[in-house]
Symmetry: C2
């Protein structure tokens, strides 16, 4: 249940959102829940982060959305575009190399 430093999330949020949308379209609230589940509770992303991010990603062309009504409630459901799918792949490899770089710099060395 350890929580994640908000600042550390910068620049990774987009990839996380695209990733949970990979196999199924979801609405904002469900995306927040999905992030929490997949991180075993570590990612408690506030609505003030997710909703603007979704609009940004749609504006950029990585997502598109449509309104639906389920059980009397209105939802805006987001779906990956093909540009979004391509971008997600790039973000995954970018993350791997980023993580490698940070891990290697952070690696403790024997005193010399």
């Amino acid at each position: 249940m350890g929580s994640v430093n908000p600042d550390a999330l910068r620049g990774h949020m987009d990839a996380l959102i695209l990733s949970v949308l990979e196999h199924e379209p979801l609405h904002g609230y469900a995306i927040i829940e999905a992030l929490q589940e997949r991180s075993s509770g570590a990612l408690a992303v506030p609505t003030g982060t997710v909703y603007p991010a979704l609009r940004r990603l749609e504006r950029t062309g990585y997502l598109d959305s449509e309104w639906a009504t389920v059980g009397g409630r209105k939802r805006r459901t987001y779906r990956l575009t093909s540009a979004g799918r391509t971008h997600l792949a790039g973000e995954r490899t970018a993350w791997q190399s980023f993580a490698g770089v940070i891990t290697s710099v952070l690696q403790p060395r024997s005193a010399g």
Copy 2:
């Protein structure tokens, strides 16, 4: 030589700096070079990032500094305090858990 997305660095810079100072005091310019070496060229951190970060870390109490003149050039050399050493340890475990969380959310799943 892949370069790292600047935004991704947010919230990790402090840990990186503390880490290169772990076993030897260094001045700002040397810290920049050390980061570049340890990352095989991936981290090209500009002076406008490092110098303010060093002052911040000193103000917080994780570093202290003293001036030296070497070969006619003035250097401000930074050294880890014991608070900084403790903080570095915390940042290392924080990084590991952060990386684990992101990796796990980004993990591709089989379509279902």
